[in-house]
């Protein structure tokens, strides 16, 4: 068997420097989130007007979400998208610097989640790069089970998670998808203990053969089916959760869908397509409701196909 080309075409590195980030941390400490938001408008405007690379990064998603937009409208949309991302990064820092109670995170489907957890097979939270998952996860404290987050941080990634501002203990265990066997054994271990596993379903790690092409915003894009495979093997339900920013200091957590993947789906990815479709349809619906809160700044539609 031959190894397929590696899939990762995105980076988690910030476009700003450590110095620029530190300026915002000082602004938050001295003037709170309002001052940081105010300055942010000018910083984003500078990046949108004078950094073509930033506009290009925005255009991959915006050209699919708003295909009819012409150049000026696209510029405005790029500004709005970048501004939302900036606000979310500020909110994350606000929570870390000024305290968790500065941001309110609401979740209305507690009973559904508690019922799913009581099944004892663990639960997979399938999320996406929307809103701020770090802040929104604070809405899930009522679960009282350990949360495992599948994330990879690159060297040079200078964005601080909220708990890193005060050297707090990490509120969740991190599983690195670039670790031994993609971290899958750790994921299975967590689910076996009845814990929660958070996976981002909109970016591919590792091998392209673990991804399927699904129509997203009018064109085929590749999405990983790893979460569906793990759900099928472990019996854990897949809960599609999307955090979103709702107002200046509020976040919501939307339970978009609960997906059950039956056991015995086999090795080929094709069997997982209907379940993956459910996730992608939910994500597409989210981008209709919150068009400026989807933060995949790479061309996920141009990833080479394997299926």
């Amino acid at each position: 068997m031959t190894e397929k080309p590696q899939a990762r075409q995105w980076t988690s590195r910030s476009i700003g420097s450590t110095f620029q980030h530190n300026i915002f941390y000082v602004l938050i400490r001295t003037g709170g989130w309002r001052l940081a938001y105010f300055i942010l408008h000018f910083v984003v405007l500078y990046y949108i007007l004078f950094r073509p690379a930033v506009r290009k990064r925005c255009s991959y998603y915006l050209s699919r979400r708003f295909p009819a937009e012409k150049s000026f409208r696209r510029l405005v949309s790029s500004y709005r998208l970048s501004l939302e991302l900036g606000k979310i990064l500020i909110d994350r820092a606000v929570v870390g610097i000024l305290g968790v109670d500065r941001i309110k995170a609401l979740f209305n489907d507690r009973e559904i989640l508690l019922d799913l957890i009581s099944e004892g097979k663990g639960v997979i939270f399938l999320m996406a790069h929307v809103g701020s998952w770090q802040v929104a996860l604070s809405a899930l404290h009522f679960l009282k089970i350990p949360v495992n987050m599948v994330i990879h941080r690159e060297e040079g990634d200078i964005d601080r998670h909220y708990f890193e501002h005060q050297s707090m203990e990490w509120p969740y265990r991190v599983i690195d998808p670039e670790g031994f066997l993609g971290g899958t054994l750790e994921m299975m271990e967590a689910l076996k203990k009845g814990e929660a596993l958070c996976i981002m379903g909109d970016r591919i790690f590792g091998n392209l053969k673990n991804a399927l092409g699904v129509r997203f915003l009018g064109e085929n894009a590749l999405f990983p089916f790893s979460a569906m495979k793990i759900a099928s093997t472990s019996g854990a339900p897949v809960v599609v959760l999307f955090p979103y920013k709702a107002g200046a200091t509020g976040y919501g957590l939307k339970l978009a869908k609960v997906i059950r993947v039956p056991a015995g789906q086999g090795r080929s990815g094709e069997q997982f397509l209907p379940y993956l479709e459910e996730y992608v349809r939910a994500l597409e619906k989210f981008t209709m409701e919150y068009p400026f809160q989807f933060f995949n700044f790479y061309d996920m539609w141009k990833t080479p196909y394997v299926n």
Binding site: N210, I230, S234
Partner: protein, 84 residues
């Protein structure tokens, strides 16, 4: 049928390997990456397969690291757990 042979047959059948037969699998070839070419999602399935057929649990990553090197290491791991 010895344990190595049984393992090879189970892996080919339960992982739906189509481009290799059980007798083409070498005892000391790596299971993942180069060698048999299994990937991280196969590891998920393999944990369940080993438990189902041999009632041996691969509890965590450390055990997986030891057991999942080759057919030989997997067979040794199973033997060890079944006798302990």
């Amino acid at each position: 049928m010895n344990l190595n042979e049984e393992l090879k047959k189970i892996i080919v059948k339960d992982l739906f390997l189509e481009d290799i037969t059980w007798d083409q699998i070498e005892d000391d070839a790596p299971l993942f990456g180069e060698g048999l070419g299994l990937d991280s999602l196969d590891a998920v399935e393999l944990v369940v397969i080993i438990q189902k057929h041999f009632n041996v649990e691969i509890k965590d990553m450390d055990e997986g690291r030891v057991a999942f090197q080759s057919i030989n290491s997997l067979a040794s791991f199973i033997r060890e757990r079944q006798t302990s």
